[in-house]
Symmetry: C2
Subunit: 288 residues, 2 copies
């Protein structure tokens, strides 16, 4: 049994047509036919019911389609990770991060990393709705920066720093730290913030913050993208609340007013990570 045969099977299970599948996997129809037959013989299990016209999965075939799909995905991830280990400092590492560190922490860290490990490639992803635990356990990322702390027995976490969250206002806005006595003074302001119904950590933090101050913002634009938000604020379309890190984006005509709330940044990685390159990258993170 070869991994290739399993992949032929999975493709045929989707397509249920030998000719079409053969084209898709770049072999002749007769080769595909024989490979599937060979697989059935070796396992002693009939995978498809078929005649000259119809191809159908058997019950066992349906079962294997489901489970082999998972297994092949896992194998691909394992092999990719093994390749990463083999390549070491000349390979690559996957890092996921929240948008809010785009302008300060992350560039500094990547600069440090590049100086010390110039041959190491970095794959950056800014996940939108996957959770970090799954990204790490599936080897889709090797290091996950997050704003919330992850409590999971198979993941190690470390808090890197805290920073204030800020009101973000246009330069000539009437508001400054000294003049803000009560949040209800802002009830006429237009807000450009994350949708408060969302499940992200930052949305949750905003909900808690507003509840604490007994305040309900008038949201006119919902967005998660800090760069976009900063630009809209500078054009005086509305005001926002973002972590102080965004100040480093140096968008003109925008002021940051620190609030009495802080937000953290955590680094997370798989417990007992065997990959020495990832371990070294984590050490460099701690140095930033």
């Amino acid at each position: 049994m070869t991994v290739q045969q399993i992949k032929y099977f999975l493709e045929l299970a989707n397509e249920l047509h030998f000719w079409k599948t053969a084209e898709k996997v770049f072999v002749s129809q007769s080769t595909l036919s024989r490979q599937i037959r060979s697989l059935e013989d070796e396992m002693g299990i009939q995978l498809f019911e078929r005649d000259k016209r119809n191809v159908k999965l058997t019950d066992a075939g349906k079962f294997l389609k489901e489970h082999w799909s998972t297994t092949i995905k896992e194998l691909d991830q394992i092999h990719r990770q093994a390749k990463k280990i083999d390549e070491g400092m000349s390979g690559f590492v996957s890092i996921s991060y929240p948008g809010s560190i785009t302008f300060r922490f992350l560039p500094k860290f990547l600069e440090t990393l590049n100086s010390n490990l110039p041959d190491l490639k970095v794959e950056l992803t800014e996940p939108t709705d996957e959770n970090h635990e799954k990204l790490l356990s599936d080897y889709r990322t090797d290091i996950a920066f997050s704003r919330d702390e992850i409590s999971n027995a198979s993941i190690d976490s470390l808090k890197l720093f805290s920073e204030p969250i800020c009101l973000v206002v246009p330069n000539n806005h009437w508001l400054n730290k000294k003049s803000l006595k009560d949040f209800n003074e802002l009830q006429d302001e237009k807000f450009i913030i994350s949708g408060l119904h969302q499940k992200t950590f930052f949305a949750s933090l905003l909900r808690n913050f507003f509840n604490k101050h007994g305040f309900e913002p008038k949201t006119i634009i919902e967005s998660d993208f800090g760069g976009m938000i900063l630009n809209l604020v500078s054009k005086e379309i509305g005001i926002s609340i973002l972590p102080l890190s965004f100040k480093s984006a140096k968008v003109p005509d925008v002021r940051f007013i620190e609030l009495d709330e802080e937000i953290d940044l955590y680094i997370n990685w798989r417990k007992n990570e065997p990959n020495k390159t990832i371990k070294k990258v984590i050490e460099y993170v701690k140095l930033v």
Copy 2:
């Protein structure tokens, strides 16, 4: 890449000696050498560091040893289950059960099953320390009878029946239902029961029961095996507490005195089980 190559790799990873491994997997040393080299070339990963004398796993090799071990075990389980589905009513089903149903429910059920599905083989296991969830999710069992209810999102459970737990005493023992006013009357009795420190459900039930009656038994023999316990009681070595099902064992010179506590029996199976034979067996269980 073939499954066989991965198995060669895993065996060599354990043995770290080509000649010895080749013997174990029934191929020549040169075949093994070429198969491992072929695997390394195809993956573009060095798995072993070796010269003419020493064989050592690389870091990537160590990683793959760990993960491929798991993957191969899963594949074997998947294939076994697929075979089971393919064979249907002429195949086999795995059932795990607690010892306490050996003498009544289980024989009746197996009789029913054999009458209706005479070509179906049944594999019975009485697990000692594995938990049912894992046995089911790993396809090591298809149906798990348990005394405790399993709350798990991927397992369906059904309560089959309740029965009293009983004091089990020798025939000529002074004790009977009417004469037992207070459990402390038994403080001089010698008990033959499960070790109360154990993590089994029945041990837990016994602990709770004794605590409720403010009683601490004088345990002289710790055993989980009902058959053994019954024999020892009949020889007047001590008394015990067991579910009423054991009465059907018809061990002579033993009496069962029902207590005011009941114990349940549950049947558990994988949620959304695709195997029609297992589904049918579950239906027969409900008929008993």
